[in-house]
Amino acid sequence: MSVIRIPPTLRAQTGGEREVIVEGETVRDLLDDLTSRFPGLNGQLEYANVYVGGEDIRTRDGYETPVSESDTVILLPAMAGGSTAENAAHFPRA
């Protein structure tokens, strides 16, 4: 079991959940488990960066990066918001 932090831009797809506990040994397993629980996330995760233990998985083994129980997984889609919240709509649901 590991904790995945859901970014605010994706919480509409997780029923507002900020953190989700998922099963698996690798990042791929965890994300598969996550999308099976919240199918609305299907196709939404490809453009998010993924961090395990504070490190970008691209600098480790990508989706095959092993995840231990104590690791927190952070999903990070690009955020654009700054000047005007009116344009916060332009965040990608990556």
Partner: protein, 390 residues
């Protein structure tokens, strides 16, 4: 009871002295001694040994630990003629400094030998010394740093949620020139967080409202306004005005990518911030030293993954936290001090009051700052949102 003469000679016997020739050798060492100037401000301003630390004798005991943390570091104390520095040297020894000498003959003798001298040009005016006194007290800033800030030029992209606190703190800090790019006018929904503007400025262009607020706060600051939407057509012209740091408080992806690419090509550090609801993030993209925005997100997401058009919302104080962090980073970059957020992304959650940091790495395959760039011209992305998700 001893006279001043007696006391001076007695103390002189107790401390070490060197002449200016020996001091000149120490000055040229690979690891030079700390030259500690214990004279008054006016004397310092008339000329001092380059690189010396200025600490008037009246402040010696209370501030020397901040100025010279390592008590084993060699210190050459000097004054005008080598008398006050005798007493300063003894005080330093009493404070536990183990390698202290006084410069016999002082800076007068140093000058007579034609050794290097630095005469500050255009130091702080008396009213500036008062206004920035709390900066002057910090060893990492000091007068030299404050003068540097007054000569710094920082460009703000956006005078909105993030740009507001950033601009206010940069102006208050005495950043000499602030550029502001924003095409919008102030509307009522802005006032919940955009603290540069006020009810009286409703309907006014944001750059004008911002300029007025900044001038009222600090007349030292020159404000350069660009009432235009940043595009591939005007970005080079705006950057050609010369900027030391860019603070990105943009609200949309096309601008974020444009500013990132320009920062890389113009080699200007970019302080990034973004906010959404209760959460924000900040980092520093310093070209060629760390990653750029495209190392994180090489391209905007495809249209089918575009966000909904629904209002996102943001806690009004959140840009205050993130924009202030951006101002702090920009000041550090302008001064060249500390450890900026290069290669580190700071995530802030106001709801749980937690800061999290993740590591960002430069991507050698980055299309803009990588080893073999594939993008060499600005791209005007079309802003999109997806009504199907609304």
């Amino acid at each position: 009871m001893s006279s001043y003469r007696d006391l001076l000679e007695e103390t002189r016997q107790q401390i070490g002295e060197i002449d200016v020739k020996r001091a000149r050798e120490l000055y040229g060492d690979a690891v030079p001694a700390v030259f500690l100037d214990v004279r008054e401000r006016e004397e310092w301003d008339e000329g001092h040994i380059p690189g010396a630390v200025h600490l008037p004798r009246g402040w010696l005991e209370s501030r020397v630990e901040q100025a010279v943390g390592d008590r084993t570091r060699p210190i050459v104390a000097y004054c005008a003629a080598g008398n006050r520095s005798v007493f300063a040297a003894r005080t330093l020894e009493e404070l536990g400094y183990t390698d202290v000498v006084s410069l016999a003959g002082g800076i007068n003798d140093w000058k007579r030998h034609g050794y290097p001298l630095e005469v500050p040009t255009g130091g702080l005016a008396p009213e500036q010394r008062t206004r920035y006194s709390r900066h002057l007290l910090i060893p990492e800033v000091g007068e030299e740093g404050q003068l540097k800030l007054l000569q710094s030029r920082i460009l703000l992209i956006g005078a909105g949620g993030l740009g507001s606190p950033a601009a206010l703190y940069l102006a208050a800090a005495g950043v000499g020139t602030l550029g502001i790019v924003d095409a919008d006018v102030v509307d009522e929904t802005n006032l919940q967080r955009q603290v540069l503007h006020s009810t009286a400025s409703l309907g006014e262009p944001k750059v004008e409202s911002a300029e007025r607020t900044i001038r009222a706060l600090n007349p030292d600051v020159e404000v350069k306004t660009y009432k235009e939407l940043l595009t591939s057509e005007n970005i080079d012209r705006i950057l050609a005005d010369g900027w030391d740091v860019i603070v990105d408080g943009a609200d949309n992806f096309p601008t974020r990518y444009l500013v990132n690419d320009a920062a890389v090509w113009h080699d200007i550090p970019l302080v990034h911030g973004s906010i959404f609801r209760f959460e924000g993030q900040a980092t520093v993209f310093k070209p060629h030293e760390g990653p750029c925005y495209r190392c994180l997100f090489p391209n905007p997401p495809p249209p089918e993954l575009a966000p909904s058009c629904a209002e996102g919302g943001v806690l009004g104080v959140l840009p205050g936290v993130i924009g202030s962090l951006q101002a702090s980073e920009a000041i550090k970059l302008a001064l060249g001090i500390g450890e900026p957020l290069i290669g580190r992304l700071l995530l802030f959650d106001a709801l749980t009051t937690t800061f999290t940091e993740v590591a960002l790495r430069r991507d050698p395959d980055c299309p803009v700052c990588g080893d073999h760039p594939t993008i060499s011209e600005y791209i005007d992305y079309v802003e999109f949102c997806n009504p199907l998700h609304a």
